[in-house]
Symmetry: none
Subunit: 203 residues, 4 copies
């Protein structure tokens, strides 16, 4: 029974988090009420509180999951690539070729954006955001640039931290624009960005 139960619990948690992702993306964290979440998830009020102790906890867990699910497949893809330059190129392609974004990805980006703003006013959230970014997103790019430098593929005088932030700055901005003004053709802008970034860091 514990095995069935544990698996069941994991599924329920995920179901709730997915519902939350949908609701928070559609309406925003603050506007989404627990009752809306209850309604959308098809569970009862109490059931949700059996899995998460507050609305905020759902938000935090959701964020963790989103970043993890965003980064993990990238990480495993990147391991298969021979050079660090190709890895960086893959990263651009991965994000830029998300066009057309599927609904689930749009939702995930929305929630991230929403969370970033909320976090800037809430220390608890900021702590989590820092951790997630530092440990997952930033670390990913940073280590590629580092290894690229060490392997002699990249210029030695580039400042790794700055270029790491630069990379994510491009990605975030592009995603934000895509979400806010979905009708615009970003493909051409994006190709430029990739070229210019790669040129700058390559020997």
């Amino acid at each position: 029974m514990p095995i069935v139960s544990e698996e069941h619990k994991r599924q329920r948690r995920n179901h709730i988090l997915l519902s939350a992702q949908h609701c928070f993306a559609k309406k925003g964290y603050h506007i989404t009420s627990m009752d809306q979440l209850v309604q959308h998830s098809g569970l009862s009020r109490g059931a949700i509180y059996n899995y998460f102790k507050s609305k905020e906890e759902i938000y935090l867990e959701l964020m963790k999951g989103i970043v993890t699910r965003e980064i993990e497949p990238i990480e495993s893809q990147i391991k298969t690539l021979p050079t660090n330059l190709e890895k960086i190129a893959y990263l651009f392609d991965h994000y830029y070729q998300l066009e057309p974004m599927c609904e689930e990805q749009k939702e995930a980006f929305f929630v991230q954006l929403d969370f970033q703003l909320s976090a800037s006013r809430n220390p608890d959230m900021m702590t989590l955001l820092d951790e997630l970014h530092k440990n997952m997103k930033f670390e990913l790019v940073k280590s590629i640039l580092q290894e690229g430098k060490e392997a002699g593929e990249l210029k030695l005088n580039i400042h790794i931290d700055i270029y790491t932030h630069m990379f994510w700055s491009f990605i975030d901005a592009a995603n934000m624009q895509r979400i806010l003004f979905p009708e615009l053709p970003y493909q051409s802008i994006i190709r430029d960005q990739k070229q210019s970034f790669l040129t700058k860091i390559t020997k």
Copy 2:
């Protein structure tokens, strides 16, 4: 009497909007309660409702004001510049040299970011945001690029709409990063962006 009264009304409205800018920037629109606004403005609940019919109206009016106050001084500066290339360069410098941003500007950016997200879920807000951006921000850059093309300063094959969005995409991304990660040194990134943008559009 009507003249004094009108002036008084204008001042009161501005005072409320400034309070709102401060509160919304610090805590976000949804988290800021009318009571906090009342407290910060020093007015009474009723007084505020005499000038604005709802919290949302304050938000909308605030946004209009912020964008107007952001763009108008730029527009008048730009009129004094002889070439369209210089105008674009000035725009980059204007935004990028805001370092260090004064509190009021930070607040204004925060409110804009917050508003953009809210707007993406609220048709009324989206309508206003579109108007403001289309009529003010986008139009500003678009007309410079247009005139630059016509004057033979800029390449003829650039797609104006795309480059206009590209410009604002840079600015927004930079501002977002500055707000969310204020400790990072963006000056060097930004200089690059300006150079690369100007290079691309110049003949």
Copy 3:
């Protein structure tokens, strides 16, 4: 306007506290819901929260008021009595002659009893209870015994703290019994207690 308003506010607070006294006495603090209080007071939910910031605050304020209203008239009566022995006798008579207790007094005793039990599990309440008892009830009797000793009316070897507690112990027990078993004839028991107490302390 402030004067009218202040008086009005005082009246509303008192009205809420009286409602609370009634409800808490009838059902107990934990069982009485805010909505019952709202219903009984005839006000709205929000109105009550304009005057008190939580249900617990109402409880604490109510207790303060009850003890104050219980002790103040006694204190002013006692000032008019010439000897300390008469003062103590008056105290017994005051409590014992409350028969038949009026509804308001019964309610007040109930709330006190209820509060004492709640307080024994809640540090905040215990602090208040201690203060109220130490500063009002205990101090009242203690100072009479003290002065009686100094004036030579009472035995010199009685332990004041113990006799003070003994006094209140009688009163509390009698009130509890009267509330819980109202049909019993306590007058005769009580007369005994008074006599025996007075005999013990008198020279």
Copy 4:
């Protein structure tokens, strides 16, 4: 099998009741949640509901047990004493020499106090309380006084009901004070009470 099962059931019930005594004493009946009871007992929610049909039933059964366990050993001790005066004296000593009270006794008193207050607002509980007191506590003392009178040990003109209540009134008051103000030295007060009570009833 049924015999083992019956014994097992009895043990489970007792285990639950003991847990309840502990929890109700520590936090009070209303504040203690079923989950706390579940946690403390180490059983499951369902298990508890197999033995008791509601939280209130646990409370009622607990009270019955407490009073029974309090009175039964006294009754058997009293049977061994030759005179009714000694029996009454024993009763005083039994309660007053509970100093220092063991944790289990403190808990039991707390629950009784808590129950008395709850009962005063709940007819079901009041019925039980009346039964328990009338049939066990009051009857115990009453019959001693009755027999003492008949045996010629005690004064003939004492009113048995009143003195019975007087006795329990002392005990309850002392216990209440001991629970609420545990640091106070009641031994001396108590010795007085015993003496004065015995004197009054003895020929």
